[in-house]
């Protein structure tokens, strides 16, 4: 996935777990951290998919704090994928603060002939979730998903 935020390459690392899967996130900005989370999510769902940036949708997500915002953000992208069959190629976060996120999500409707789905995410969880700023230019996060 490419990020449309003109920020340096963000990073996610898949956490291997007996039953499920998690993401370790690192970025220089909060925006970058949420972009990395979206990239990680799509990697878990369909790691080998070439997704065309054919359509864009605005998306708004709220939460009581950054952790809830992260859960709700990924849950929304998962919902788009599972119910609307919309695969996300790129996200552009236009506004983010502790309790609100606004983004433009670009991608295409799933074509079973081109898009082999790898995992079905039941839910994004609060297990050992973390979102924190470690230094002026370093944000870290961790989140687990139930497969």
């Amino acid at each position: 996935m490419q990020n449309g935020n003109n920020i340096p390459e963000t990073a996610y690392r898949i956490i291997d777990h007996t039953s499920d899967v998690g993401l370790e996130l690192e970025a220089s900005t909060l925006t970058g951290l949420f972009v990395a989370a979206a990239e990680g999510l799509m990697h878990i769902i369909c790691p080998h998919c070439q997704i065309k940036p054919a359509q864009s949708h605005p998306l708004q997500v709220c939460g009581e704090n950054l952790e809830e915002l992260l859960v709700n953000w990924l849950s929304e992208l998962n919902y788009l994928c599972q119910v609307q069959r919309f695969l996300t190629a790129r996200v552009k976060i236009t506004e983010i603060h502790e309790r609100f996120l606004q983004a433009e999500v670009t991608g295409e409707t799933r074509d079973p002939l081109r898009h082999a789905m790898r995992s079905e995410i039941k839910a994004v969880t609060y297990h050992r979730i973390e979102v924190h700023q470690e230094a002026a230019d370093k944000w870290r996060g961790r989140i687990y998903m139930d497969l």
Binding site: T18, V21, E120, A123
Partner: protein, 479 residues
Amino acid sequence: MTTPMHRITDYLFEIPKTGKMRVPARIYATEDLLPDILQDRAVEQAAHVAWLPGIVGYSYAMPDIHWGYGFPIGGVAAFDLEEGVISPGGVGYDINCGVRLLRTGLQLSDIESRMPAAVDGLFRAIPSGVGSTGRLKLTEKEEKRVLQNGALWAVQNGYGEEEDLDKIEENGMMPQADPDQVSARARERGRSQLGTLGSGNHFIELGVVDEIYDTAAASAMGLRLEQITLFIHTGSRGLGHQVCDEAIKEMLHASRKYGIELPDRQLCCAPISSPEGQHYLGAMSAAVNFAFANRQMITHWARQALLQAWNITPRDLNMQVVYEVAHNIAKIEKHNVDGIERSLCVHRKGATRAFGPHHPEIPAAYREIGQPVLIPGDMGRCSYLLTGTAKAMSDSFGSACHGAGRVMSRTQAIKSARGRSVLRELAERGILVRAENSETIAEEMPEAYKNVTQVVDAVAGAGLARKVARLKPLGVIKG
């Protein structure tokens, strides 16, 4: 953190009540199973469940305990209806994930050479895999009827026989279900998924009765050696996942509102009698009904597929439900606690109800032998059929284990399968496997799971269930 644990018997260990635990925790296991159990923090999770208000007796874990979100998988906990709580983390995301066992009128020798046709037929007939959608798209109105009536809806709409319903836990319909408590988004997520297997560890398995340990009980269930059987393992699909997801969010707020101290956010809960508790109970029960209907529809299509694949009559196939159990559920049940009958909210997450003989809630045909307990293993070794006991009623709120439990992560399994063909290895052992995705077969390879025989022996050794029969896989459809 190491959780202190001491041995009570060869099959039971106890974590004493310390800190904010309200009761001790009890883990059913053997010394042989302990290394796998202690590999993750599941035991600590069982201790954390004991923090929750109104918990009665002990926080239990079965021998297939492994790490879960909030409650461990394999966790059982009962709560007082007045002082206790209900927790979506005590049920899990796949509400009413469960297992149905069917028997056929056929012996292995009748169809051995026609197994490939059967496996291919089942694979074609039943949508499976990641993002699988069903053969029918429900209207909103019809979906609400599914949520209200469960397996009965399926039978009334031509999916299966009325007699199927007698052999399902709750007869395939939870009366507490309240479809209006299920959000539009959850209903939307489930609408195209009724009659689908899904992915992960869900499966359909043609098997054969390989060994009988209790002839009388096997006979009461219509089972004999070399008989062909069918297992169906699936749940409430995206609808249940969404119900749980939304309940967790609501319960996080409710836990704060009611001043419930949580050691882990995924244990969020609300008093059973509170509006939040009642809301979850109604929505969860509706998701339970969706899963009952799901397995009923898959049963119907499996019957059709096998009739066609084997070119036989319904009378020859004679495929009847032996029993169906839920293994992710919370239910209001009556239990005897210190000589007093009490109504409790029993959470079973990756645990099977195992009611003993003469319990009024088990089918009349099984009243003398106890409730059938279905324990599927991995796709290469075997599965077990057991019956619940009086000891389970007195010791574990009528509960036993639910399966083998993973020991390898999915990535580890895929790595371990590199350079091998798990599909071919299984075929060489007479087990045909079909899956939408070849990586699923590697992820679900037999070595990725504990040996279910050890788990079943621990449960039988503890007296929570009695072994009746062992089944060997012949053909498996993986989600």
